[in-house]
Structure formats: C-alpha cells, structure tokens
Symmetry: C2
Subunit: 499 residues, 2 copies
C-alpha cells in the first residue's frame, strides 16, 4: 500500500471519530439551548455513551499501528506529516485513559452541570458541592493519568494551552498583578464616567435583533451558523459549515448581550475560517484555547470597545433604542470601558477582569495540589475577592457559583482568558503596525483587512503551530505583557485623563 | 452467572445501542428544525456514522450468544422473556444487513432529503429523481435482504406494521374504496359548508400560542417535551422524558397548524406514556406505526374534529382570533369537516384522505415489484389523482413532491395512516361504549378518562403485542372497516343532513 493510501485510511478513521465527537457536541448544544428538564437524566447517559465510543474508536490498536507506519512513511507532504505527528501525540495521550474513566468523567460532568444549575437556582453552593467534589477527584486522577513534571495542575493547563505551566503562569500573573494594581489606582482616583444610560430598560427582541446585526456586520456567516439563547453564552461547532453561538439577554443591561455577541462572534469567525478540507484532522482544529480566546477578545475588546467601532455603530444603537439618542459615541465609549471592581467576571471591565482570573487560578491550583477541597471554595473565594478586588461577596450566585466551567470539569481553562487578552493585544498591535489605515477602516465598519489578516496569520494554520509558536511566527517574539499594558493604559488615559 | 445477571448484561448493551439511536434522532431533529444550510453535507456523514455504529453494536456476536442463552434461561419473568424474544427477532433481522449497506442507505436518505427540499423549492421532480431512484434501488435491495413470501413490498410493510401484507391490504383497501365512494357522492351532492372564515389572516404568533394551549389542554407535558417549527410536522423522542413535536404555520389557514398540533400531540402523548423503565428495550417502544397513527388520529379527528371538542374550545379560538366571534362551534365543526377532493394529503378531510393513501400505496407497490421506476412517478401520480379524486395536479410541488416520506426512504409507511384511522375509530368506539359519559367529559375539556383508557389499553404495553394482537385484546375482534365507516357516516349525516 502506498503512503497516500495509508493516509487515506487514516483520514477515514479520523473523520469517523470526528463524526461521533461532533454528534456529542450537538447533544450538548441542545442540552444548553432547548432540552426540556425531563431530558436531563437520559441525556447524560447518551452523552457518556458517545464519549466512550469516541474514545474507543481513537484507542483502536490498528490506528496506532497505522500512525506508526505513517510516521516512518516516505512521500507525505509536510502538512500530512504534521497531521500524523499531532495525531500520534493525541493517540498516546488517549491511550492513557481507560474507557471506564472516560465514561465516569462524562457522567460526572453531566451530573455536575445540572447540580450547578440547581445550586444557582437555590443560590446555595452546598447543592453543588458533592458532585463538584466527585469531579475534582476525577480531575486529580486525570493529572496522574496524564502525568506532569512539576505541578499536577500543569497537566490540565497543558490540555488547553500546550506548554503552559504553573511556573510560567505564576511569574506572568505576578507581573500582571503588579502592573494592573497601579493602573487601577489611577483609574479609581479619576471621575467615574456616566454608565446609567446602559441600565435603562432595553427590549429583549430589539436586543436580539441588534445582536444579529452586529454578528452580520463582523462577518459571521448565517448560512454556516446561527445564534440561540442559553443560560451561559458559548460557541460550538459541528463542522466549519455549522458554527453555533449563543447569547443571553438582560433587559436592564445593554452591554451584557452586546459584548457577549462580539465575544462569541470572534470565536465563531475562527471556527468558520478553519480549513474545511481538514475535517477531523489536527490541521482543521483551532490552535489552542488561549489563541481561541485571543480571537474573542480581539473582537470584543480591541475592536468592540474601541472608539472607531462605536463611532461607526452609535446610530445603530440609537436606531434600536431611541432612549440613547442623546448619548454620543464618546460617552458610550467611556461607559463601556468604565472600570469598577465587581463581583461577576463576565461583566467585569478589561482591567479588573484579570483579577477574577487570578482568583480562579489560585483556587484551581490549590484544588489540584490538594491543599483545599470543594468545601473550602466559598470562603476562599470570598476572601480573595475581598483581598484583590475589595468587594464583599453577598451570596454564592454572585460568588463561586457564577461560572459554568467547573461544572463542565474545565479546570485549567480560566488562565487562557488572560492569555487570550495578552495574545489579542500583541496581535492587534502587529495588525495595526502593518496597516496604518486599519482604525479608519474599522470606523467605517469595514473589516476586510481584519479578516484577511486573521485568515492569513491565524485561521489557515489550524493546529499546525502551538500558541507560543504562532505568537513568535506572527510577532517575532514570545508573549509579552507589555502590549496589553500599553493598550490598556492608552485607552484609560484617553478616557480618564490621567498622566 | 444467574439469569438475572445475564439479563442485566443484555439491558446494559441495549441501553447503549438506544443511546446511539437517540443521539441520531437528536441530530435529525436539529437538521429539520434549526440547522443552517451550510451544515447539510457533514451532518449527512455524521448521521451515517451513528447509524453504522448502532448497527454494529447491535450486530455484536456476543449479544447474539447472550440472547440465545437468555432464550433458554430459567427464572426470567414473562415480560423479560418477551423483551428477549422480540430482541432476538430484531437481532436476526439486523444480522441480514451489512454495515456498508446501512451506511449507504443512511447517506442516500440524507442526500435524498436535501434533494427533495431543493426539488420543492424549484417545483421540479426532476431535481429529486436521481437520488430518489438510488434510494428506491436500495429499498428494493432491502426487500431481498429482509426476504418475503408473496410480494417484495410485504417486506417493507412489515417494518411498520408487523403482519401487514399486500394480500391483506389489497382486500382491505378495495373494501374501503367501495365504501367511501358512495359516501363521497352523497356528501358531494349536499350543500358545501362555509369554510372561508378559516382562511382569513391569522397572526403567526397567536397561532403558535393557540397550538401550545391545545397541547397543554390535551395533556402534553412541557417539562418532558417541547414544540418547534419545521417544514413538515413530526414527532420524535429521545426518551420518555424528552419528546419533541414540531408544527408549521400557514397564516392563511388556521386549520393547518391547529389539527397538526393535535395530531402530533397524540403521537407525543403515546411516547410520553410508554414505560420509562424499559428504555432501550422492546417493551419501552411503541407497538407499531399503525397503532402510533391511531393515537394521532384519535386526538386529531375522533376528538379534535368532534362537536364536543369544538364546543369546549370555540371561546379559545375566539380569544386568539376576534374575527371568529361570529362563528359558532357548530359552524366551526362543519367547516373543519368540510369534504372536498383536493391535492394535498395533509390538508385533506377524513374521507378523501384515504384516496391519497390508496394512490401512494399503488405507486409504492409498483415501484417495489419493479413495474415502474422513479421517472414514472409524476405521470402515474397525476393520472391516479384524476381517476380517484377527479382533481388535476398543476405541478410537482402540489403533486408527487408533497410528502417527505420517500425522501426519508419510508416506503410502506403510508398505508399505516389508513390503518391508524381504522384502529382509532374501533378503539374510540370501545372507549365510549365502556364510558357513556365520555363525550360530556370531552365537552368540558376533561381528558382524564381518555388518558386512563389509553394508558391502560395502549401505552403501558409498549411493543408487547403486535398491532393486530392489541386490537384483538382491546376490542375482542380483528381490525374492522365497519367502525370507521360508521363513525364517518354519522359525522357527515350530522353535518350534511343526507339519509
């Protein structure tokens, strides 16, 4: 058999595995958008079965042999070789998991998710504690399964951002904290911009239509995707031709839906832009979660919270909400960039946001090293919010029950949000330095250059490079805190007028 | 290992197979409700993969051995034995199919479905012909795979209604045709009831809310199900706790949405009422498609198009649509039972409806025996409509492209609609004879007795009996044409005042 025939065998098997994984994603999307409560129990079981099948298909010994053969084969293109080496890496990792562990984890995630929903309804962490505790035990077991050199948490961090480690993040996050603190103090010393007009009553249907308009404007292709409502906004995809975003609408907070749409839209453009011919293969997948987050933050913050974007869109806001007729784009710009230490991560400004991440990072690190357990979370959470942000957490819903992530078993995910902001600032800097007219284009609602740049520099590569490698390739340097601090300082100087 | 331990092994494997099949049903539901057009190609492949996996799991040799052991085992309950014998029957049937055939069929169905959608848009059967032709060839191959004694079509009829055959249906349908013809002539000789008020403009949202109210009234549990919109209404379920109905809304035809809701609601009540503890096992499944259809027709027609039902609900209709304020329940009753030979099956009255079925039955029979092929369908269709209903088919959309069934590969399904009407009339007769106050209860919107009767006589048994057996058990007789003719004649005499 020729190398190309072997490669065909490999792609056929990978497509089949992807089919099962994406079917699982459809079930998950349905669970979080439309599924009635009566479907909970059996859906958990159905998703666990699909997880187990996907795992077994990928653990197939013949696939292992095929990958070995292909690793040594002559005549494959460079990209084919890259697919093979990445798949072999994944294969060896998958081999470490037993089917029973995969199933137990999937079932624990479903149970936890619904316990989290219930706990939020009852505003009581205790309702979530038992199933979260089970999940944490499984995740700690997973760190052993995966293996690590220095810190157990490294094993999980690596799942979302290859090469990430406690050693790296401890240093980066310490620098971040020391850079953000003085900036926060300066901002807090300045007059607070008017934000009240963002908290009038904003009709649900009008918000929904505005969200769709913004998604269209940024280039989301509705022939290859759709938006729905869910408790917690997310983006998922079943192939590059079917990318789904969700949002939620707060009738007393226009910013909540609006910048969530831009955020998820950024994720979605990445998924719609990945190479469709590589379905099921590493080169058809996103680079890393950190890079994925850079895409959402680039659109949500670098573009979406910029003055040119708001200059362009102020009339659209006013068209949907006549009560904003007296608000100028500069006032809106100041309002949506208002800085104030607060309780809810997803509603935080770009500055204090990262303190929310630092808190979660500390808690996860301690959970994984075993120095605390689930029951310790609420008090530690509340203490850290007091220490770092100076806010008193009134209850669990506004505290440690606010995020979906732990209920999904996603430990190690939060740090990628901060990495995403840092990558986004660094990328946006390079995008602008190569195109001095870029901000003018954005001010006209013309994203042609932005799309081309992202397609050329990010989307087309899929998982070909790690996040760190991609950053080096694009900007000629590793991830630097400086670009983010420069971006943030410039914005707040402009709004708060300090030196 | 004890018999009960073996039985546990069996149920575990069956649950797993059901998980995959229901996951497939979620993908199908999504495809017909929310999926963007860009998802078509990969969704077809994803569904084919799940079909193939379900087939392979069920074809597992170890399951065959287990079923053999359990067939001979002592100490199983009667119901457990029944599950085993039905599963063994299914297993032997499944063994006849190769994996490649299952995948080819699933892919052909997806392709055909989208070709059918396109053909309808372009109003041109030719767009559908090639993929339908491929599907028909596969279905003919399937009749050979399944085997048959007399007529190849028998193999497919049996898939939907065990024990059904061309010999049986030829005779039954001939009787039906000779009974319906004189009744139709009498009705056609009488003055036509006023129907124009059903074709005013009826707001989409108000219709949607009316539909939900009617589903609630009939006892559909929205904690264990939901309704959405789709091109063609259908009911599906992912377990008894998650049953989905769909509807479509025509703003110029109030009856279209209304009685479709009652129809799908009848199917849904059956699925919600099946024994949830038997998930994945035959006793947790519906009896037959004919019996399933009897449930939809009982609610749609026997109850929904009756005077007591309309007496009860006229004020609800008027509340949503003030333009109906001048319409009495008797006028509405006459209007929704107006008889007129027409082009579209799903909008046909209860009398001419069966001519639509007879036409499809004849065409399917000929396709399966090979005396015609796909290309002959339009002209044969149009000729039969002329002969049997006296109507001229103007185009394919109003002719042979109107039904989704063939695009789904569902050959042998149509006759069950007529069987369903006949079963429904026979069941409703017995339900009333055991409870003389029943119609009064229906007139008050009180369906307690109806639910209890259906739960006791139909729902609780799942697939324990065949349709024919169930009919005998409930009514002490095999399926009789007489009950249906009696029901229909009484209704039309009441409305049309002939002797």
């Amino acid at each position: 058999m020729t190398s190309q025939q072997l490669y065909e065998q490999y792609t056929a098997q990978m497509r089949k595995i992807a089919d099962v994984k994406y079917a699982l994603a459809v079930l998950q999307w349905d669970q979080e958008t439309y599924m009635p409560s009566g479907g909970v129990a059996m859906r958990a079981q159905q998703m666990a079965t699909l997880s187990e099948i996907a795992h077994q298909l990928f653990a197939d010994k013949n696939l292992g042999i095929l990958l070995q053969e292909l690793s040594a084969a002559e005549g494959l293109t460079e990209l084919q070789q890259r697919n093979i080496s990445l798949t072999l890496e994944d294969y060896r990792k998958n081999e470490k998991y037993s089917s029973s562990f995969v199933r137990e984890l999937s079932e624990a995630v479903s149970t936890s998710y619904h316990a989290w929903i219930d706990a939020r309804k009852q505003n009581d962490f205790a309702v979530f504690e038992t199933s979260l505790d089970h999940l944490i035990r499984l995740k700690k077991e997973e760190t052993q399964v995966l293996g690590f050199e220095d810190h157990p948490y490294d094993a999980l961090l690596n799942e979302f951002e290859k090469g990430a480690s406690v050693a790296w993040l401890d240093e980066l996050f310490l620098d971040l904290q020391s850079s953000l603190k003085p900036l926060l103090l300066k901002v807090m010393d300045s007059p607070v911009p008017e934000q009240a007009f963002l908290h009038q009553h904003f009709d649900k249907d009008a918000q929904w239509r505005l969200g769709l308009d913004l998604l269209k404007q940024m280039g989301f292709d509705f022939e290859r995707g759709r938006q729905d409502l869910s408790e917690h906004p997310f983006t998922t995809n079943f192939n590059t031709g079917d990318v789904r975003v969700t949002t939620r609408i707060d009738e007393h907070n226009l910013a909540s839906m609006t910048w969530s749409c831009l955020h998820e839209g950024g994720h979605a453009l990445y998924e719609q832009g990945l190479p469709s011919g590589q379905y099921g293969l590493p080169l058809g997948e996103y680079c890393s979660i950190g890079i994925h987050e850079s895409q959402s933050r680039l659109w949500e913050n670098c573009i979406g919270r910029s003055l040119p974007f708001l200059d362009c869109n102020i009339s659209l806001f006013q068209q949907y909400f006549p009560s904003l007729k007296q608000v100028s784009s500069r006032q809106l710009y100041a309002a949506v960039n208002g800085v104030k230490p607060s309780l809810i991560r997803t509603e935080a400004d770009e500055l204090t946001y990262h303190f929310h991440i630092l808190i979660r990072y500390e808690i996860e690190k301690k959970l994984m090293e075993g120095s605390i357990t689930a029951k310790d979370i609420p008090s530690l959470w509340n203490d850290l919010y007091k220490d770092l942000l100076g806010v008193a957490v009134p209850d669990d819903k506004n505290g440690c029950l606010q995020d979906i992530h732990w209920s999904h078993g996603s430990f190690g995910y939060f740090p990628t949000y901060t990495l995403g902001s840092l990558y986004a600032a660094q990328f946006y800097h390079y995008m602008q330095s190569g195109n001095p007219g870029l901000l003018k284009e954005v001010g006209r609602g013309d994203y042609t250059s932005v799309h081309q740049w992202l397609q050329l520099n990010v989307y087309q590569y899929g998982r070909r490079f790690t996040g760190k490698e991609l950053c080096n390739k694009i900007t000629g340097a590793s991830l630097q805190l400086g670009y983010f601090m420069q971006y943030l300082t410039a914005k707040y100087q402009d709004i708060y007028h300090f030196d």
